[in-house]
Protein backbone atom coordinates (compact mmCIF):
# COMPACT_ATOMS: atom_id res chain seq x y z
CA UNK A 1 0.00 0.00 0.00
CA UNK A 2 1.14 3.53 0.70
CA UNK A 3 4.87 4.05 1.09
CA UNK A 4 5.60 6.34 4.00
CA UNK A 5 8.33 8.30 2.26
CA UNK A 6 6.10 9.00 -0.70
CA UNK A 7 3.15 10.00 1.39
CA UNK A 8 3.22 13.67 2.36
CA UNK A 9 0.52 13.16 4.98
CA UNK A 10 2.80 10.98 7.10
CA UNK A 11 4.43 13.07 9.83
CA UNK A 12 8.13 13.91 9.80
CA UNK A 13 8.74 11.40 12.59
CA UNK A 14 7.83 8.53 10.26
CA UNK A 15 10.75 9.11 7.93
CA UNK A 16 13.82 8.09 9.97
CA UNK A 17 15.16 4.54 10.13
CA UNK A 18 12.11 2.55 11.09
CA UNK A 19 12.08 0.65 14.42
CA UNK A 20 9.45 -1.73 13.09
CA UNK A 21 9.22 -2.51 9.42
CA UNK A 22 6.75 -4.77 7.62
CA UNK A 23 7.12 -5.57 3.93
CA UNK A 24 4.60 -7.50 1.85
CA UNK A 25 3.12 -9.30 4.84
CA UNK A 26 0.40 -11.82 4.07
CA UNK A 27 -1.48 -14.12 6.36
CA UNK A 28 -4.41 -16.48 5.95
CA UNK A 29 -6.73 -18.04 8.51
CA UNK A 30 -7.89 -20.94 6.40
CA UNK A 31 -9.72 -19.38 3.45
CA UNK A 32 -9.73 -15.92 5.04
CA UNK A 33 -6.95 -13.68 3.73
CA UNK A 34 -6.65 -11.72 6.95
CA UNK A 35 -3.53 -9.67 6.09
CA UNK A 36 -3.02 -8.64 2.48
CA UNK A 37 0.31 -7.21 1.31
CA UNK A 38 0.87 -5.10 4.38
CA UNK A 39 3.72 -2.56 4.17
CA UNK A 40 4.30 -0.53 7.29
CA UNK A 41 7.16 1.41 8.84
CA UNK A 42 7.04 2.63 12.39
CA UNK A 43 9.64 5.14 13.50
CA UNK A 44 11.34 5.39 16.85
CA UNK A 45 9.03 7.24 19.25
CA UNK A 46 6.05 7.10 16.94
CA UNK A 47 2.56 6.31 18.23
CA UNK A 48 0.56 4.45 15.61
CA UNK A 49 -3.10 3.76 16.21
CA UNK A 50 -4.81 0.99 14.26
CA UNK A 51 -8.53 1.35 13.81
CA UNK A 52 -11.10 -0.37 11.67
CA UNK A 53 -14.13 -2.62 11.78
CA UNK A 54 -13.87 -5.95 13.59
CA UNK A 55 -12.36 -8.66 11.45
CA UNK A 56 -10.31 -6.13 9.52
CA UNK A 57 -7.05 -7.74 10.67
CA UNK A 58 -5.82 -5.00 12.99
CA UNK A 59 -5.34 -7.25 16.03
CA UNK A 60 -3.67 -9.88 13.87
CA UNK A 61 -1.33 -7.26 12.44
CA UNK A 62 -0.44 -6.12 15.94
CA UNK A 63 0.26 -9.69 17.05
CA UNK A 64 2.52 -10.47 14.09
CA UNK A 65 5.01 -7.86 15.30
CA UNK A 66 6.16 -10.11 18.15
CA UNK A 67 5.28 -13.25 16.21
CA UNK A 68 2.40 -14.35 18.42
CA UNK A 69 0.88 -14.80 14.98
CA UNK A 70 3.07 -16.27 12.28
CA UNK A 71 2.88 -14.89 8.76
CA UNK A 72 2.64 -16.73 5.45
CA UNK A 73 4.86 -14.41 3.42
CA UNK A 74 6.68 -11.11 3.67
CA UNK A 75 9.22 -9.84 6.17
CA UNK A 76 8.99 -8.18 9.55
CA UNK A 77 11.98 -6.41 11.03
CA UNK A 78 12.30 -5.01 14.52
CA UNK A 79 15.19 -2.64 15.09
CA UNK A 80 16.72 -3.62 11.77
CA UNK A 81 16.69 -7.38 12.41
CA UNK A 82 14.22 -9.81 10.85
CA UNK A 83 12.02 -11.74 13.29
CA UNK A 84 13.78 -15.02 14.06
CA UNK A 85 12.01 -18.38 13.98
CA UNK A 86 10.60 -19.85 17.19
CA UNK A 87 13.37 -20.42 19.74
CA UNK A 88 15.83 -18.62 21.98
CA UNK A 89 16.45 -15.78 19.51
CA UNK A 90 12.75 -15.05 19.20
CA UNK A 91 12.34 -15.13 22.98
CA UNK A 92 15.10 -12.56 23.29
CA UNK A 93 13.39 -10.32 20.75
CA UNK A 94 10.01 -10.68 22.42
CA UNK A 95 11.52 -9.43 25.67
CA UNK A 96 12.18 -6.16 23.81
CA UNK A 97 8.65 -5.88 22.46
CA UNK A 98 6.13 -5.22 25.22
CA UNK A 99 2.61 -6.52 24.74
CA UNK A 100 -0.62 -5.57 26.47
CA UNK A 101 -3.65 -7.75 25.86
CA UNK A 102 -7.36 -7.09 25.81
CA UNK A 103 -7.92 -9.60 28.62
CA UNK A 104 -4.90 -8.44 30.71
CA UNK A 105 -3.53 -11.99 31.04
CA UNK A 106 -1.88 -11.32 34.38
CA UNK A 107 -0.45 -14.52 35.88
CA UNK A 108 -3.33 -15.58 38.11
CA UNK A 109 -1.19 -17.57 40.55
CA UNK A 110 1.23 -14.71 41.24
CA UNK A 111 0.80 -11.50 43.19
CA UNK A 112 0.84 -8.18 41.38
CA UNK A 113 4.46 -7.61 42.42
CA UNK A 114 5.51 -11.11 41.36
CA UNK A 115 3.81 -10.56 38.01
CA UNK A 116 6.10 -7.62 37.34
CA UNK A 117 9.18 -9.29 38.84
CA UNK A 118 8.97 -12.75 37.23
CA UNK A 119 10.22 -12.11 33.70
CA UNK A 120 12.81 -9.58 34.85
CA UNK A 121 14.43 -12.29 36.98
CA UNK A 122 13.87 -15.33 34.78
CA UNK A 123 14.35 -13.76 31.36
CA UNK A 124 16.37 -10.62 32.03
CA UNK A 125 18.55 -12.23 34.74
CA UNK A 126 18.09 -9.14 36.90
CA UNK A 127 18.86 -9.75 40.61
CA UNK A 128 15.60 -10.20 42.54
CA UNK A 129 16.08 -7.20 44.84
CA UNK A 130 16.71 -4.91 41.90
CA UNK A 131 13.76 -6.37 39.98
CA UNK A 132 11.47 -5.73 42.94
CA UNK A 133 12.67 -2.15 43.19
CA UNK A 134 11.96 -1.62 39.49
CA UNK A 135 8.59 -3.34 39.85
CA UNK A 136 7.52 -1.14 42.78
CA UNK A 137 8.57 2.01 40.93
CA UNK A 138 6.61 0.98 37.84
CA UNK A 139 3.55 0.00 39.87
CA UNK A 140 3.74 3.38 41.57
CA UNK A 141 4.05 5.08 38.19
CA UNK A 142 0.88 3.44 36.85
CA UNK A 143 -0.91 4.17 40.14
CA UNK A 144 -1.31 0.69 41.63
CA UNK A 145 1.58 0.73 44.09
CA UNK A 146 -0.75 -0.01 46.99
CA UNK A 147 -1.96 -3.25 45.35
CA UNK A 148 1.48 -4.87 45.04
CA UNK A 149 0.79 -7.80 47.34
CA UNK A 150 -2.70 -8.65 46.07
CA UNK A 151 -3.57 -11.28 43.51
CA UNK A 152 -4.82 -10.12 40.09
CA UNK A 153 -8.35 -11.41 40.73
CA UNK A 154 -8.63 -8.99 43.68
CA UNK A 155 -8.12 -5.96 41.41
CA UNK A 156 -10.51 -4.08 39.16
CA UNK A 157 -10.10 -4.45 35.41
CA UNK A 158 -8.53 -1.02 35.08
CA UNK A 159 -6.04 -1.80 37.82
CA UNK A 160 -5.20 -5.16 36.25
CA UNK A 161 -4.56 -3.56 32.89
CA UNK A 162 -2.28 -0.97 34.46
CA UNK A 163 -0.36 -3.79 36.16
CA UNK A 164 -0.09 -5.49 32.76
CA UNK A 165 1.41 -2.30 31.33
CA UNK A 166 3.88 -2.15 34.22
CA UNK A 167 4.75 -5.81 33.64
CA UNK A 168 5.56 -5.13 29.99
CA UNK A 169 7.50 -1.93 30.83
CA UNK A 170 9.63 -3.83 33.34
CA UNK A 171 11.45 -5.50 30.44
CA UNK A 172 12.46 -2.05 29.17
CA UNK A 173 10.95 -2.67 25.73
CA UNK A 174 11.83 -0.76 22.58
CA UNK A 175 8.25 -0.81 21.39
CA UNK A 176 4.92 -1.47 23.10
CA UNK A 177 2.02 -3.26 21.42
CA UNK A 178 -1.48 -2.67 22.75
CA UNK A 179 -4.13 -5.09 21.49
CA UNK A 180 -7.47 -3.45 22.35
CA UNK A 181 -6.30 -2.60 25.87
CA UNK A 182 -9.54 -0.99 26.98
CA UNK A 183 -12.12 -3.15 25.21
CA UNK A 184 -12.70 -5.46 28.19
CA UNK A 185 -13.01 -2.62 30.70
CA UNK A 186 -16.02 -1.09 32.35
CA UNK A 187 -16.48 2.42 30.90
CA UNK A 188 -15.46 4.23 34.07
CA UNK A 189 -12.11 2.45 34.05
CA UNK A 190 -11.14 3.19 30.46
CA UNK A 191 -9.67 6.57 31.21
CA UNK A 192 -7.29 5.46 33.94
CA UNK A 193 -5.67 3.09 31.43
CA UNK A 194 -5.66 5.62 28.61
CA UNK A 195 -4.02 8.16 30.93
CA UNK A 196 -1.14 5.75 31.56
CA UNK A 197 -0.82 5.17 27.83
CA UNK A 198 -0.88 8.91 27.10
CA UNK A 199 1.91 9.52 29.57
CA UNK A 200 3.92 6.71 27.96
CA UNK A 201 3.43 8.28 24.57
CA UNK A 202 4.45 11.67 25.94
CA UNK A 203 7.67 10.11 27.26
CA UNK A 204 8.56 9.04 23.72
CA UNK A 205 7.68 5.34 23.82
CA UNK A 206 7.15 3.76 20.40
CA UNK A 207 3.63 2.37 20.46
CA UNK A 208 1.29 0.38 18.26
CA UNK A 209 -2.23 0.62 19.59
CA UNK A 210 -5.26 -1.27 18.34
CA UNK A 211 -8.25 0.52 19.80
CA UNK A 212 -11.79 1.74 19.40
CA UNK A 213 -11.07 4.80 21.55
CA UNK A 214 -11.20 7.57 18.97
CA UNK A 215 -10.52 10.18 21.64
CA UNK A 216 -7.21 8.51 22.39
CA UNK A 217 -6.41 8.23 18.69
CA UNK A 218 -7.04 11.95 18.23
CA UNK A 219 -5.06 13.09 21.23
CA UNK A 220 -2.12 10.69 21.42
CA UNK A 221 -1.48 9.25 17.97
CA UNK A 222 1.10 10.52 15.50
CA UNK A 223 -0.53 8.48 12.79
CA UNK A 224 -3.82 6.70 12.36
CA UNK A 225 -4.01 3.56 10.22
CA UNK A 226 -7.44 2.58 9.03
CA UNK A 227 -7.73 -1.11 8.17
CA UNK A 228 -10.50 -2.99 6.40
CA UNK A 229 -10.58 -6.50 4.92
CA UNK A 230 -6.94 -7.19 5.69
CA UNK A 231 -5.57 -4.04 4.06
CA UNK A 232 -4.37 -0.69 5.28
CA UNK A 233 -6.95 1.40 3.44
CA UNK A 234 -5.88 4.80 4.65
CA UNK A 235 -3.25 6.38 6.85
CA UNK A 236 -2.92 9.94 7.97
CA UNK A 237 -2.42 12.23 10.91
CA UNK A 238 -5.34 11.93 13.34
CA UNK A 239 -6.42 15.49 12.65
CA UNK A 240 -6.58 14.94 8.89
CA UNK A 241 -8.07 11.47 9.16
CA UNK A 242 -10.91 12.36 11.49
CA UNK A 243 -11.85 15.64 9.82
CA UNK A 244 -11.42 14.57 6.21
CA UNK A 245 -11.26 10.83 5.63
CA UNK A 246 -10.48 10.07 1.99
CA UNK A 247 -11.76 6.55 1.43
CA UNK A 248 -15.41 5.55 1.43
CA UNK A 249 -14.72 2.71 3.84
CA UNK A 250 -13.23 5.11 6.37
CA UNK A 251 -16.07 7.61 5.92
CA UNK A 252 -18.60 4.86 6.43
CA UNK A 253 -16.76 3.53 9.51
CA UNK A 254 -16.43 6.95 11.10
CA UNK A 255 -20.05 7.85 10.45
CA UNK A 256 -21.07 4.71 12.31
CA UNK A 257 -18.91 5.23 15.37
CA UNK A 258 -18.93 8.98 15.70
CA UNK A 259 -22.66 9.67 15.40
CA UNK A 260 -24.77 7.34 17.44
Amino acid sequence: MTENSADPSVPEKGRGTPLVSLRGVNKHFGALHVLQDIDLDIAQGEVVVLIGPSGSGKSTLCRTINRLETIDSGTIEVDGRPLPAEGRELARLRAQVGMVFQSFNLFAHKTVLQNVVLAQVKVGRVPRAEAEKTARELLERVGVGAQADKFPAQLSGGQQQRVAIARALAMDPKVMLFDEPTSALDPEMVNEVLEVMRSLAAKGMTMVVVTHEMGFARSAANRVLFMADGRIVEQNTPEAFFTAPRSDRAKDFLSKILHH
Partner: protein, 216 residues
Protein backbone atom coordinates in the same frame (compact mmCIF):
# COMPACT_ATOMS: atom_id res chain seq x y z
CA UNK B 1 -9.09 -65.09 61.61
CA UNK B 2 -5.98 -63.33 62.82
CA UNK B 3 -3.64 -64.84 60.21
CA UNK B 4 -1.01 -62.06 60.29
CA UNK B 5 -0.59 -62.64 64.00
CA UNK B 6 -0.20 -66.43 63.87
CA UNK B 7 2.79 -68.70 63.28
CA UNK B 8 5.24 -65.83 62.78
CA UNK B 9 3.39 -64.65 59.67
CA UNK B 10 3.63 -61.05 60.79
CA UNK B 11 7.11 -60.45 59.38
CA UNK B 12 5.97 -61.96 56.06
CA UNK B 13 3.04 -59.52 55.97
CA UNK B 14 5.28 -56.59 56.83
CA UNK B 15 7.72 -57.59 54.11
CA UNK B 16 4.90 -57.79 51.58
CA UNK B 17 3.44 -54.49 52.75
CA UNK B 18 6.80 -52.71 52.47
CA UNK B 19 7.40 -54.40 49.10
CA UNK B 20 4.18 -52.96 47.72
CA UNK B 21 4.96 -49.53 49.15
CA UNK B 22 8.50 -49.50 47.77
CA UNK B 23 7.35 -50.66 44.34
CA UNK B 24 4.47 -48.17 44.26
CA UNK B 25 6.47 -45.22 45.55
CA UNK B 26 9.29 -45.70 43.05
CA UNK B 27 6.86 -46.28 40.19
CA UNK B 28 4.86 -43.20 41.22
CA UNK B 29 8.02 -41.08 41.16
CA UNK B 30 9.08 -42.27 37.72
CA UNK B 31 5.53 -42.16 36.36
CA UNK B 32 5.26 -38.53 37.48
CA UNK B 33 8.58 -37.58 35.86
CA UNK B 34 7.70 -39.48 32.70
CA UNK B 35 4.20 -37.97 32.66
CA UNK B 36 5.52 -34.41 32.91
CA UNK B 37 7.97 -35.01 30.07
CA UNK B 38 5.30 -36.66 27.91
CA UNK B 39 2.81 -33.87 28.60
CA UNK B 40 5.48 -31.29 27.70
CA UNK B 41 6.05 -33.22 24.46
CA UNK B 42 2.36 -33.29 23.68
CA UNK B 43 1.91 -29.53 24.02
CA UNK B 44 5.31 -28.60 22.54
CA UNK B 45 5.59 -26.60 19.30
CA UNK B 46 7.83 -29.32 17.80
CA UNK B 47 5.75 -31.72 15.66
CA UNK B 48 8.15 -34.68 16.14
CA UNK B 49 7.87 -34.44 19.92
CA UNK B 50 4.09 -34.11 19.76
CA UNK B 51 3.86 -37.23 17.61
CA UNK B 52 6.20 -39.11 19.94
CA UNK B 53 4.12 -38.15 22.99
CA UNK B 54 0.85 -39.05 21.31
CA UNK B 55 2.18 -42.38 20.09
CA UNK B 56 3.62 -43.27 23.49
CA UNK B 57 0.36 -42.52 25.26
CA UNK B 58 -1.72 -44.35 22.66
CA UNK B 59 0.44 -47.46 22.85
CA UNK B 60 0.99 -47.75 26.58
CA UNK B 61 -2.35 -46.53 27.82
CA UNK B 62 -4.05 -49.13 25.66
CA UNK B 63 -1.75 -52.04 26.50
CA UNK B 64 -2.98 -54.26 29.36
CA UNK B 65 -0.67 -53.96 32.34
CA UNK B 66 -0.12 -57.71 32.50
CA UNK B 67 1.08 -57.64 28.90
CA UNK B 68 3.53 -54.89 29.86
CA UNK B 69 4.89 -57.13 32.59
CA UNK B 70 5.21 -59.98 30.10
CA UNK B 71 7.12 -57.70 27.77
CA UNK B 72 9.64 -56.45 30.32
CA UNK B 73 10.02 -59.89 31.93
CA UNK B 74 10.33 -62.09 28.85
CA UNK B 75 11.11 -59.87 25.88
CA UNK B 76 13.89 -57.74 27.36
CA UNK B 77 16.12 -60.77 28.22
CA UNK B 78 15.88 -61.89 24.59
CA UNK B 79 17.19 -58.48 23.56
CA UNK B 80 20.04 -59.18 25.95
CA UNK B 81 18.76 -56.66 28.50
CA UNK B 82 18.97 -58.24 31.92
CA UNK B 83 17.34 -56.45 34.82
CA UNK B 84 15.99 -57.65 38.16
CA UNK B 85 12.34 -58.55 38.53
CA UNK B 86 11.90 -55.54 40.79
CA UNK B 87 13.41 -53.13 38.26
CA UNK B 88 11.30 -54.70 35.53
CA UNK B 89 8.18 -54.21 37.64
CA UNK B 90 9.05 -50.55 38.31
CA UNK B 91 9.62 -50.03 34.60
CA UNK B 92 6.33 -51.66 33.57
CA UNK B 93 4.31 -49.74 36.17
CA UNK B 94 6.03 -46.40 35.45
CA UNK B 95 5.61 -46.64 31.71
CA UNK B 96 1.98 -47.68 32.06
CA UNK B 97 1.06 -45.11 34.73
CA UNK B 98 3.14 -42.37 33.08
CA UNK B 99 0.82 -42.27 30.10
CA UNK B 100 -2.16 -41.71 32.41
CA UNK B 101 -0.28 -39.00 34.30
CA UNK B 102 0.47 -37.33 30.96
CA UNK B 103 -3.16 -37.19 29.98
CA UNK B 104 -4.26 -35.86 33.37
CA UNK B 105 -1.60 -33.13 33.13
CA UNK B 106 -2.59 -32.29 29.58
CA UNK B 107 -6.22 -31.91 30.66
CA UNK B 108 -4.99 -29.59 33.40
CA UNK B 109 -2.88 -27.58 30.96
CA UNK B 110 -5.95 -27.14 28.78
CA UNK B 111 -7.83 -25.53 31.67
CA UNK B 112 -5.28 -22.68 31.76
CA UNK B 113 -6.38 -19.88 29.41
CA UNK B 114 -4.21 -19.55 26.29
CA UNK B 115 -3.62 -15.89 27.15
CA UNK B 116 -1.48 -16.92 30.13
CA UNK B 117 1.01 -18.67 27.85
CA UNK B 118 0.85 -15.82 25.34
CA UNK B 119 1.65 -13.30 28.06
CA UNK B 120 4.59 -15.42 29.20
CA UNK B 121 5.92 -15.77 25.66
CA UNK B 122 5.45 -12.08 24.95
CA UNK B 123 7.69 -11.35 27.96
CA UNK B 124 10.47 -13.42 26.41
CA UNK B 125 9.97 -16.71 28.22
CA UNK B 126 10.90 -19.85 26.33
CA UNK B 127 8.74 -22.93 26.09
CA UNK B 128 10.17 -24.52 29.25
CA UNK B 129 9.78 -21.36 31.32
CA UNK B 130 6.25 -20.74 30.04
CA UNK B 131 5.25 -24.27 30.95
CA UNK B 132 7.16 -24.52 34.23
CA UNK B 133 6.64 -21.02 35.66
CA UNK B 134 3.21 -20.07 34.36
CA UNK B 135 1.12 -22.92 32.95
CA UNK B 136 1.86 -25.99 35.09
CA UNK B 137 1.54 -24.18 38.44
CA UNK B 138 -1.94 -23.07 37.38
CA UNK B 139 -2.79 -26.47 35.93
CA UNK B 140 -1.79 -28.14 39.21
CA UNK B 141 -4.97 -27.18 41.00
CA UNK B 142 -7.24 -28.69 38.37
CA UNK B 143 -5.06 -31.75 38.19
CA UNK B 144 -4.91 -32.80 41.83
CA UNK B 145 -8.19 -34.71 42.07
CA UNK B 146 -7.79 -36.86 38.92
CA UNK B 147 -4.10 -37.32 39.71
CA UNK B 148 -5.18 -38.73 43.07
CA UNK B 149 -7.20 -41.38 41.25
CA UNK B 150 -4.19 -42.36 39.13
CA UNK B 151 -1.96 -42.75 42.17
CA UNK B 152 -4.58 -44.65 44.14
CA UNK B 153 -4.85 -47.10 41.24
CA UNK B 154 -1.08 -47.55 41.12
CA UNK B 155 -0.54 -49.56 44.36
CA UNK B 156 -3.47 -51.77 43.44
CA UNK B 157 -2.10 -52.30 39.92
CA UNK B 158 1.24 -53.16 41.47
CA UNK B 159 -0.28 -56.46 42.62
CA UNK B 160 0.39 -57.79 39.12
CA UNK B 161 4.09 -57.72 40.00
CA UNK B 162 3.40 -60.51 42.50
CA UNK B 163 2.86 -62.84 39.57
CA UNK B 164 6.25 -61.84 38.11
CA UNK B 165 8.69 -62.78 40.83
CA UNK B 166 8.48 -59.61 42.92
CA UNK B 167 7.73 -60.06 46.60
CA UNK B 168 4.90 -57.74 47.61
CA UNK B 169 1.51 -57.91 49.30
CA UNK B 170 -0.09 -60.20 46.78
CA UNK B 171 2.82 -62.65 46.96
CA UNK B 172 1.99 -63.01 50.67
CA UNK B 173 -1.33 -64.45 49.61
CA UNK B 174 0.32 -66.99 47.30
CA UNK B 175 2.78 -68.09 49.98
CA UNK B 176 0.14 -68.45 52.67
CA UNK B 177 -2.44 -70.12 50.41
CA UNK B 178 0.15 -72.73 49.62
CA UNK B 179 0.57 -73.25 53.36
CA UNK B 180 -3.18 -74.03 53.55
CA UNK B 181 -4.63 -70.89 55.11
CA UNK B 182 -8.27 -70.02 54.38
CA UNK B 183 -8.23 -67.90 51.24
CA UNK B 184 -11.18 -65.70 52.23
CA UNK B 185 -9.62 -64.78 55.54
CA UNK B 186 -6.37 -64.04 53.72
CA UNK B 187 -8.10 -61.80 51.23
CA UNK B 188 -9.70 -59.88 54.06
CA UNK B 189 -6.31 -59.00 55.53
CA UNK B 190 -4.82 -58.18 52.14
CA UNK B 191 -7.76 -55.97 51.26
CA UNK B 192 -7.29 -54.19 54.56
CA UNK B 193 -3.61 -53.59 53.79
CA UNK B 194 -4.40 -52.20 50.31
CA UNK B 195 -7.11 -50.05 51.84
CA UNK B 196 -4.60 -48.54 54.26
CA UNK B 197 -2.32 -47.62 51.35
CA UNK B 198 -5.08 -46.26 49.10
CA UNK B 199 -6.56 -44.31 51.96
CA UNK B 200 -3.21 -42.73 52.79
CA UNK B 201 -2.61 -41.72 49.18
CA UNK B 202 -6.13 -40.30 49.05
CA UNK B 203 -5.52 -38.34 52.24
CA UNK B 204 -2.33 -36.82 50.84
CA UNK B 205 -4.16 -35.64 47.73
CA UNK B 206 -7.07 -34.23 49.75
CA UNK B 207 -4.57 -32.26 51.80
CA UNK B 208 -2.93 -30.97 48.60
CA UNK B 209 -6.30 -29.95 47.27
CA UNK B 210 -7.11 -28.01 50.42
CA UNK B 211 -3.74 -26.28 50.37
CA UNK B 212 -3.92 -25.16 46.75
CA UNK B 213 -7.53 -24.06 47.16
CA UNK B 214 -6.44 -21.30 49.56
CA UNK B 215 -4.11 -19.68 47.04
CA UNK B 216 -6.74 -17.65 45.22
Amino acid sequence: MGIPFEDGNFSLFVRGFLGTIELSALSALFALLLGVVLAAFRVSPVPVLRTFGTTWVTVFRNTPLTLMFFAVTFVLPRLDVHISSFTAAVAALSIYTGSFVCEVLRAGINTVPLGQAEAARSLGMGFGQTLGLVVLPQAARAVIAPMGSVFIALPRNSAVAGAFNVFELFSVQKTLTEKGYDIFALFFWLALAYLVISFSVGAVFSALERRTAVVR
